[in-house]
Every structure is written in structure tokens, then in C-alpha cells.
């Protein structure tokens, strides 16, 4: 199943992103706040580099021993009355969940925010059963009403302004209030309360599964995940197979890193840790519980030079510092996972064919690597992707290929090359402005479409080298 969100070409998506003034300002301001928040909280915590090192060690040990910890997790969930389904593909996961819905004859399913369910397109699958599925995270709910896609993994509706939200509420739910955020949120609360109380099944994602006790940890601010957990009698958790830690002690370290890196907070309003089914006399929580563990391409990353990409804890810090994300926005990546981690992960999960441009959506400045709380070498992975695309897959984006082909023909023939370097200064003079060429002709077009080329000097390097001994000027 493809991670692609739309069929629109990359170049068009970028243009759409760049010209969306509201979204550009929103992203720039969000990046500023998230980044400052993260740095402030890291400074208050102190020893940030030690924390990052610990985070990296925990993630790397867990993924190295993933089979062991998944075994332990599934045993413990089962002991506490839960069912566990290991799904190799999105289809397997969706089919299993659809079956539960059919067996329960469920009419309404309420969900809390989950990236992996976006990835496997679970909502579409659920709709095939005829059941209604309601996203309960405020941002996700707004997007769902609008049929829109998330553009950021932490604040999914970042690209929308309050007036657009007001219009959506008015058109879809008969809202009559103002665009004041408090009033909009109160309206959403009333609307969703009813959905929680009447839902047959709840579905949550998973921030960290704890192997030693079969516990699922959810890190949220709104409290919707607690409602999804507490109310419906049947609960399903969907988790990517790598979202696991050995014990509660590692969970704590990663939650400490996650909330600081994601939103610059010491902790979120809710960290909820639930285990299996409720006991006989308990009222809250499910009487029937299913944990769905999803591979969907992740195992292809194991044992490769990209394995550390599975260390990701989904904080979004990399997109909050990325200059390219800032300018093109989340939708331009055309994947459930945008930003630098999306550019690394999407081609790994879904192949290069549909996503070959993503590793080029980076200036390789390394800000993402520096921001990552578990030290994933993101920009180095983007370079590795580019190497693979060029060397193995021969799927470099068209502009890059044409450019290299042109340069290859030109540079590969000594007489043409010599002549052209001698002629270059004169020939390119009309294209030069302030010492650089912004719109080059012929083979240079491919290059200058994406970047500037320094104007050739009057004397070529070879000429200068030859003349050097004859007293040529340096």
C-alpha cells in the first residue's frame, strides 16, 4: 500500500506549498516556537547531550533485540487478557480490524491520533465496513471534516487558519460561533463528547509499548486518548513494530526526550499507561482488547545502513528546524511522514519509485541531525539515499538526470570541453548577473533551474595553469 497522499507531481506540490502565504507564516512561526521551546527545556534539564546519548543507546539496544522484546510484549499482553495480531502488511492489519468491527457489529469507532493508522489508511478500510470512524484529536478532527491531510506530525492542522476552521465547522456541523480558538475548541468538545459516549470501539496509536508489562503508553495533551481508552468496551491499539521499550524506566527517559523535543514541554497533560483488559469490577477501560503490531515495510530497514531510522520517536524536532520544510510545508512531501525523517523513512517503507525526490528536499545543513533527541544521522541518511538513487536505482529526479546527462556529454569530450571553457566567459556573459548565472543555456539549464552557477572567469583554470610558469597572473 502506497504512502503517497496524492498524485500531484513534486514540482507542483512545492509550488503550491511556497505560494501558500498563510501556511508559510504558520510554519515559520511554529518552527520558531517549537525550536525555542526545545532549546529552553533542554537547557533547564541540563546534560542534554547525555540524555540524547542515553536515548540513542536505548533505541539502538531495543531495535537490535526487537524479536526478543516483541515476544515479551505479546506474552504479557496475552497474560493480561489481550489479543495480539502481528501484521506483515497494511492489508493484514486492516483486515484484522475490519473483522473485529464486523464481529462486534460496530457502528461507531472513535480514534485518538495515530500516525501508523494514517500510514496504513485504516480509516478508508473502516469505511468499507459501513461503520463511522471519528478522529478525536482536535487537529485531526478538523482535517477529517474537511477531507484534508496532516501537514505536521505533532500539530496536524498547522496549515489551516482559524477562519477556515470556522467555515468548516459551519458547513459540516452547523456551527454559528466565531473563529475564536476557545469557542471553536469548546464546540469541538461538545460534538466529540457525544461521539465518545456512543462509540462501540476505540482505536489508539502507541507512543511506547513497554515489553516487561505489556503496557501501552500514550502521550497527549487534550485528554482524548483517555476518553478513547475509558469509554468503549472494545479497544484496539495499532503500533508500528519498532515503537517499543524494554521497561518502564526506558519509557520514562524517552517520554522526557519526546515532550521536550516535540513541543518544548517538560511533560504533556496526560501520559496514560494501560495494560490489557479491565478487571471484572473495574468500569473504565476495555473488556475486549486487541494489539495490532504492524511491519508494513519496517523489517526491510532492519540490518541495513538505515536501521537507525527505526529509532525515531516521532517528535517532529527535525521538521521544526528544517529550512526546506519551512519553505515547502508538510504537504509537499506527499507522505504521512513529512520533513527530514519523512524524507528518510518514506522511500524506505514505500520504495524510491514514488518518492525519489524526497532525499533531495534537503540542504544537507545537518540541523535535523543536531535536533534529533535519539541522534539519528538524518542528513547522512539523505546522502546515502541520493547515492543509492543515483548508483543503484538510476532514479534520480528528472532535472538531476538531464543535467548530469548534459554535463556528461559536454565534460566527456575534451575538445568540446576545452573550447567551451575557453569560450565560456564570453558566451555566458549575457546570462551573468552579479558574478553568477541564474538562467543558464543548454546543458547548464538543468543545473541553474535549481541553483546558481558562478560565472566563468576570463581565464580558464587550464589556461591559468599553463600560463602560470610563464608569469601568468594568479
Amino acid at each position: 500500500m502506497s504512502l503517497k497522499l496524492k498524485e500531484t507531481a513534486y514540482s507542483k506540490r512545492i509550488k503550491e506549498g511556497i505560494k501558500d502565504d498563510f501556511a508559510r507564516n504558520a510554519v515559520a512561526s511554529a518552527q520558531g516556537r517549537f525550536r525555542t521551546g526545545r532549546l529552553t527545556q533542554a537547557a533547564i534539564l541540563g546534560d542534554w547531550e547525555e540524555w540524547r546519548r542515553l536515548g540513542e543507546e536505548i533505541r539502538s539496544h531495543t531495535i537490535e533485540n526487537l524479536d526478543y522484546y516483541l515476544m515479551q510484549l505479546s506474552e504479557n499482553v496475552s497474560k493480561r487478557g489481550g489479543n495480539v495480531f502481528f501484521a506483515s502488511t497494511a492489508e493484514e492489519a486492516n483486515d484484522y480490524i475490519k473483522n473485529i468491527i464486523k464481529q462486534k457489529n460496530a457502528k461507531k469507532i472513535v480514534k485518538s491520533k495515530s500516525m501508523v493508522t494514517e500510514e496504513i489508511k485504516l480509516n478508508e478500510a473502516i469505511q468499507e465496513t459501513g461503520a463511522e470512524v471519528v478522529e478525536s484529536d482536535l487537529g485531526e478532527w478538523i482535517l477529517q471534516l474537511d477531507g484534508d491531510q496532516p501537514s505536521h506530525i505533532v500539530t496536524p492542522a498547522l496549515h489551516k487558519d482559524r477562519e477556515q476552521m470556522r467555515q468548516t465547522f459551519t458547513e459540516k456541523r452547523g456551527y454559528t460561533g466565531s473563529s475564536d480558538p476557545d469557542e471553536l475548541a469548546q464546540f469541538a468538545r461538545q460534538q466529540l463528547r457525544n461521539d465518545f459516549l456512543t462509540a462501540d470501539i476505540g482505536i489508539t496509536g502507541c507512543n511506547f509499548a513497554i515489553a516487561e508489562s505489556g503496557t501501552i503508553t500514550l502521550v497527549t495533551n487534550e485528554g482524548n486518548a483517555d476518553m478513547v481508552y475509558s469509554v468503549p468496551d472494545t479497544l484496539i491499539t495499532v503500533m508500528g513494530m519498532e515503537r517499543i521499550v524494554p521497561t518502564w524506566e526506558e519509557m520514562e527517559v524517552l517520554v522526557s526526550l519526546l515532550t521536550r523535543s516535540a513541543v518544548g514541554a517538560k511533560i504533556t497533560s496526560y501520559v496514560t499507561a494501560y495494560t490489557g483488559v479491565r478487571s471484572e469490577e473495574e468500569i473504565d477501560g476495555p473488556e475486549e482488547y486487541h494489539l495490532v503490531i504492524v511491519d508494513n515495510g519496517r523489517s526491510k530497514i532492519l540490518g541495513t545502513e538505515f536501521q537507525a531510522a527505526l529509532h525515531c520517536i516521532r517528535c517532529g524536532a527535525c521538521m521544526n528546524v528544517c529550512p526546506v520544510y519551512r519553505h515547502i510545508g508538510g504537504h509537499a512531501y506527499n507522505s504521512v511522514y513529512p520533513g527530514p525523517i519523512g524524507a528518510v523513512l518514506t522511500p524506505l517503507l514505500d520504495g524510491y519509485e514514488d518518492h525519489k525526490e524526497l532525499p533531495y528536499a534537503s540542504t544537507l545543513c545537518g540541523a535535523c541531525t543536531e535536533a534529533c533527541p535519539v541522534k539519528i544521522p538524518l542528513h547522512e541518511m539523505l546522502i546515502m539515499h541520493r547515492q543509492k538513487i543515483v548508483e543503484e536505482e538510476k532514479k534520480a529526479p528528472l532535472s538531476e538526470k538531464l543535467m548530469m546527462k548534459g554535463v556528461g556529454m559536454w565534460g566527456g569530450n575534451p575538445s568540446i570541453y576545452n573550447m567551451s571553457t575557453k569560450m565560456a566567459h564570453t558566451a555566458l556573459k549575457p546570462f551573468e548577473k552579479d558574478g553568477v548565472i541564474k538562467k543558464g543555456p543548454g546543458p547548464l539549464k538543468g543545473w541553474t533551474d535549481s541553483r546558481d552557477l558562478p560565472a566563468p572567469p576570463k581565464e580558464s583554470f587550464r589556461q591559468w595553469f599553463k600560463n602560470r610558469d610563464k608569469g601568468g597572473k594568479a
Binding site: F85, F86, G139, T247, E282, I283
Partner: protein, 234 residues
């Protein structure tokens, strides 16, 4: 309960990792650094309380400090401040010890429901209509001003999630430096073969969201307002 497709799935994972399947013998390594353990470990109880109060105020939570004798009056004022009438609380041993039962009996204007599992889902319906949920913290994290609740048959998660506002009573004996100590306590219980609660909640201030133009709004799904009452019990 049933576990599906595990063998095939885990064999594939092991194969991709380039080694035989590993189902036992894995020990957590000794991490090369452990900054979480030293953090705030040398602070005195009073310093921890100061940190807790500052952090609680920073996240928009009212904080009061009193002792067992003064609790009822502070609680009364807090309920009044929130104009609360319908109250829900857990069937907690501490209710009696802290004088809450006598207080609820004497306050004829309040409609108080004490969680009773024999009433089944009615508890949840009452919680949903309640103005205020009153809870005791089991472990309190000073760094983040977080209240920990071990939910059980006498204490549903709904008490702190569904009402409009909540009031947390925090015995100062429950205060630890940070999340680290709470996580270690729970880990140690598991290591000793104990079964942990079905739901452990770590709650910090009111419910909130920044999903609309990054503006912080409170009370999106959970409580709109929160009050912490610290009670010196040592």
C-alpha cells in the same frame, strides 16, 4: 488470549537482523550515562515543593498548601471558586483519614458521588455530568507538577478525565523529584512479580491543545481547570 502470526513475524525480524531468533537471554545493558537518576536527587523536600508549586502555576493550575486540619476549608473554597455542585470522587481509604466523608456529609448543597463499582457504567455517566472530580495523588512528580493515579475498581480514570474541573489532593509524602522515581517504583513492582494496575495515569494541569493556530486553549476533552491542594502529612 490469542496471539496471531507471531512465529513467522519474529523469525522474519531475526532474519533481517542477520542472526538466529532470540527469545531469551537478553539483558538490558548498563547504559553508559544515566542523567535521569541524578537529576534533582539532592533537593530537599522543601525545595521539591517549591519547584512543584512554581511549575504548577506555570501551567495554569491553582495551588494551595495546608495541613490535614486545614484541608476541608481549603477544599470548600476551591469548590466554591469553581461553582461546583456535582462532585465525583474515588472510594479512597484516604477520604476518611483526611476528613472528606464528614465534609461531604455536612455540605448539603453539594451532590457528591463516591465511585461504586456495583453501579457499573452509571459511575461514568455521573462523572460525565460532574462539575468537579476530586482525586488523591499516589505519586507526585515535582519537576513537572504531575499527579500519578493508580486506577482500580474503586477509582475509575473517568473521575479525572470527564468532569469540567478537577481538584487533586497531594499529600506531601507522595512527592518525588521526577518521573524517574515513579517509573522505577513501577518497574520494581513488576520485577518482583506483582501485577500492575490496568491503567496508570500521569496527569499534569488542565487538558489543552494548540491545534488552532498554535494558540493554547484549555479543556479540549478533559478538565478546563485544575487545582492542586498540597497537604503536609509528614
Amino acid at each position: 488470549m490469542a496471539v496471531h502470526n507471531r512465529e513467522e513475524f519474529l523469525n522474519h525480524v531475526a532474519k533481517r537482523l542477520g542472526r538466529p531468533l532470540k527469545l531469551e537471554g537478553v539483558k538490558r545493558p548498563k547504559w553508559s550515562v544515566t542523567p535521569q537518576i541524578d537529576k534533582y536527587k539532592d533537593l530537599s523536600k522543601e525545595e521539591l515543593i517549591d519547584m512543584l508549586i512554581k511549575q504548577a502555576q506555570e501551567i495554569g493550575t491553582n495551588v494551595f498548601r495546608t495541613n490535614k486540619d486545614g484541608l476541608v476549608n481549603v477544599l470548600k473554597d476551591a469548590i466554591k471558586e469553581y461553582e461546583g455542585v456535582k462532585i465525583i470522587t474515588a472510594k479512597d481509604k484516604r477520604n476518611e483519614d483526611y476528613g472528606l466523608i464528614a465534609f461531604f456529609d455536612s455540605e448539603k448543597d453539594l451532590q457528591v458521588h463516591v465511585w461504586d463499582y456495583e453501579l457499573g457504567k452509571d459511575n461514568m455517566r455521573i462523572a460525565e455530568q460532574a462539575d468537579i472530580g476530586i482525586i488523591f495523588s499516589d505519586i507526585t512528580l515535582a519537576e513537572t507538577a504531575t499527579v500519578t493515579i493508580f486506577n482500580n475498581k474503586d477509582h475509575g480514570n473517568s473521575i479525572v478525565i470527564m468532569p469540567k474541573d478537577y481538584i487533586a489532593i497531594i499529600p506531601t509524602s507522595t512527592i518525588v523529584p521526577r518521573f524517574t522515581q515513579a517509573a522505577s517504583q513501577i518497574h520494581n513492582r513488576i520485577a518482583n512479580g506483582e501485577q500492575i494496575e490496568t491503567c496508570v495515569s500521569f496527569i499534569t494541569g488542565p487538558s489543552n491543545s494548540a491545534d488552532i493556530e498554535m494558540v493554547r486553549v484549555v479543556g479540549v476533552h478533559g478538565p478546563v481547570r485544575a487545582t492542586y491542594i498540597l497537604v503536609d502529612d509528614e
